[in-house]
């Protein structure tokens, strides 16, 4: 692998005025973090996995607050589409919780992680094909930009970038457990979306 780093969505120099392209780049960021967890071991893997958990939590929560309500409201058959996605998200969260309790260097960790990776990727492609396409079709540029802003606000409060040279454990602890992070993400997104 080359040593080029692809920055996370929000950290590249894109204008981020389109929620769909922002979320699609975030899907890539999640895949990149899965790669990193697989390629590392010991403390490095622990750190990469913490960042993966955080990014997944923030990304999925933000989608639940921003994307799914829109699709449910504005797309014919949207209710069913969203139900399918929520089911996948629930399953992913359960698997994430299982992984969170495991020793990242234990023999069962990687097979479970690869299973999760596959599920997350299927979920992401389903969103891209069945939700994002409707958002772009039925949303004006102002809404696309407003939604992008809300997602970015959520991302900003839970940095998921590596912290080279810094003991990341301390920073992770400061962010608290995943459930609390999800709650805070919800609040931030709601505020950014105008309190709806």
């Amino acid at each position: 692998m080359s040593d080029l780093q692809t920055p996370h969505a929000g950290d590249d120099r894109s204008r981020d005025d389109d929620v769909v392209s922002l979320l699609m780049r975030q899907h890539g960021d999640i895949r990149n973090l899965f790669d990193e967890v697989e390629a590392t071991s010991g403390e490095g893997r622990r750190d990469a996995f913490r960042r993966l958990v955080r990014l997944l939590a923030v990304h999925e929560t933000a989608e639940e607050e921003v994307v799914h309500p829109f699709v449910r409201r504005s797309v014919a058959g949207g209710q069913e589409i969203v139900e399918d996605r929520l089911k996948e998200e629930r399953e992913a969260k359960e698997m994430l919780a299982v992984l969170d309790d495991m020793d990242p260097d234990g023999p069962d960790f990687l097979p479970k992680l690869i299973e999760l990776r596959r599920d997350v990727q299927m979920h992401a492609r389903a969103e891209e094909r069945y939700e994002f396409i409707h958002i772009r079709r039925s949303t004006d540029v102002t809404d696309l930009a407003a939604m992008a802003k809300a997602i970015k606000a959520a991302e900003a409060m839970a940095p998921t970038r590596p912290h080279p040279g810094v003991e990341s454990g301390a920073k992770n602890m400061a962010l608290g457990p995943v459930a609390a992070l999800m709650d805070r993400t919800k609040d931030t997104v709601r505020k950014a979306m105008g309190g709806s």
């Binding site: 080359s2 894109s14 596959r118």
Partner: protein
């Protein structure tokens, strides 16, 4: 070991039809598969698509209803083969990911064929073309990082380098300069005929893929890049199809098609790392052997000639997917600035080339340049995979 398809029998034609369960193949893993397994899948899909389209053209030029029915029988099986092969590609991959895999095929397949081609004029045609596919891979890889935040090395896995080839903007030539001279069917090495058919078929599939999937993108730059490279694929199909001797009869061409399918399934069966995919190559080889016999019978009956007169006595060395990095670097060092004039190659930008360039670019940067500018705006750098060091051409090194 020598393998002579003319002497082998396969599965009888009336036992080749598969049911839905048998066609329901399990796709390869988009993230964990051997990249060259995916390349073999894409190649064989292109070969089967050509088999189907060629047979349709032949049927439309055939008067005898009995022969039409015979062609329809084999063609239906070929259509099933195409489904079984192409459905090995996973739904999880995006169009852009499949595109990058298509370009990896174009690079490593064409480079290998160029290395093995015995005829110098044909060899030059492949050397010329591969530097263009090589540049397409680089442009699409940069688009991929922009849209999906993923690096093309996660697809090509460092088996193929990603860096500039002949710049895409210079691929747009006056169409008359894309027509090559054909090989002579009675003098050409049988291997040359197989090479020409293989590269023509895969480039044709690439052309079809881009012309159909390009507009499914919403991002303006993606739509425009597919349009630009899609037009170059039209040039490539013109370039490669004109290498084939048009003096071959329809039946001789049919025999060559079937023989080539045997050659490629046999080659890929020998190399395949994925056992499930290997089983498909083996099954299809056993089907193709019978398709070849059917075609040979037609040639004997309708041309009054022995197929053995036009075919190799045994299969040539297996066609292989492997890295071609050193070979490509040598071409990058020596053939970057070539263009075509008539059926030959020149280094100067001649009048007809300049005229075409002026008209098609219309005084603006083409999408293939703009994608690089947009990538730079987003990341402040390019995306490349240069596992063997800097670009051989100093002018193409990253600033």
């Amino acid at each position: 070991m020598t393998f002579n398809p003319l002497e082998q029998r396969g599965i009888p034609l009336d036992r080749q039809l598969r049911n839905w369960r048998e066609l329901n193949v399990e796709p390869i893993d988009p993230d964990r598969c051997d990249p060259y397994t995916r390349c073999r899948v894409i190649t064989m899909n292109g070969i089967e698509v050509e088999a189907i389209l060629f047979s349709h053209q032949l049927a439309r030029n055939t008067v005898d209803p009995e022969i039409k029915r015979q062609l329809a029988q084999t063609r239906y099986i070929e259509a099933q083969q195409q489904k079984a092969v192409n459905w090995l590609l996973p739904g999880l991959s995006s169009v852009l990911e499949t595109t990058i895999a298509y370009e990896q095929v174009a690079v490593d397949l064409t480079a290998w064929v160029a290395r093995m081609e015995p005829d110098p004029y044909l060899k030059q045609a492949y050397q010329f073309g591969v530097l263009e596919d090589f540049d397409h891979l680089y442009r699409y890889a940069n688009l991929y990082e922009m849209i999906e935040h993923r690096k093309a090395e996660s697809i090509v896995d460092n088996l193929t380098e990603v860096m500039p080839g002949r710049p895409t903007r210079y691929h747009h030539r006056d169409p008359v300069d894309n027509v090559r001279d054909p090989y002579a069917k009675d003098q050409a090495d049988p291997l040359s005929k197989l090479h020409a058919l293989t590269i023509m078929s895969t480039e044709q599939q690439t052309m079809n893929f881009y012309m159909n999937t390009g507009p499914t993108y919403m991002e303006p730059i993606a739509r425009q890049l597919y349009q630009e490279i899609g037009l170059i694929e039209e040039e490539h199909v013109t370039h490669y199809e004109s290498l084939v001797d048009p003096g071959e009869t329809w039946w001789e061409q049919l025999v060559n098609h079937e023989y080539n399918e045997c050659y490629l399934y046999y080659s890929f069966m020998e190399q395949e790392s994925d056992p499930k995919v290997k089983a498909i190559w083996e099954l299809h080889l056993n089907m193709e052997l019978e398709h070849l016999h059917v075609a040979c019978d037609l040639m004997r009956r309708l041309d009054g000639r022995e197929p053995a007169e036009v075919l190799a006595p045994a299969l040539p060395n297996v066609l292989t997917f492997e890295p071609n990095k050193a070979y490509l670097r040598e071409l990058l060092d020596t053939q970057m600035d070539l263009t075509t004039l008539g059926a030959g190659y020149v280094r100067e930008a001649h009048e007809r080339f300049e005229k075409m360039q002026e008209t098609i670019h219309g005084g603006e940067n083409p999408p293939s340049d703009r994608v690089m500018h947009m990538h730079d705006d987003m990341f402040g750098r390019e995306y490349r995979v240069q596992t063997e060091g800097e670009h051989p051409d100093p002018a193409q090194r990253e600033k």
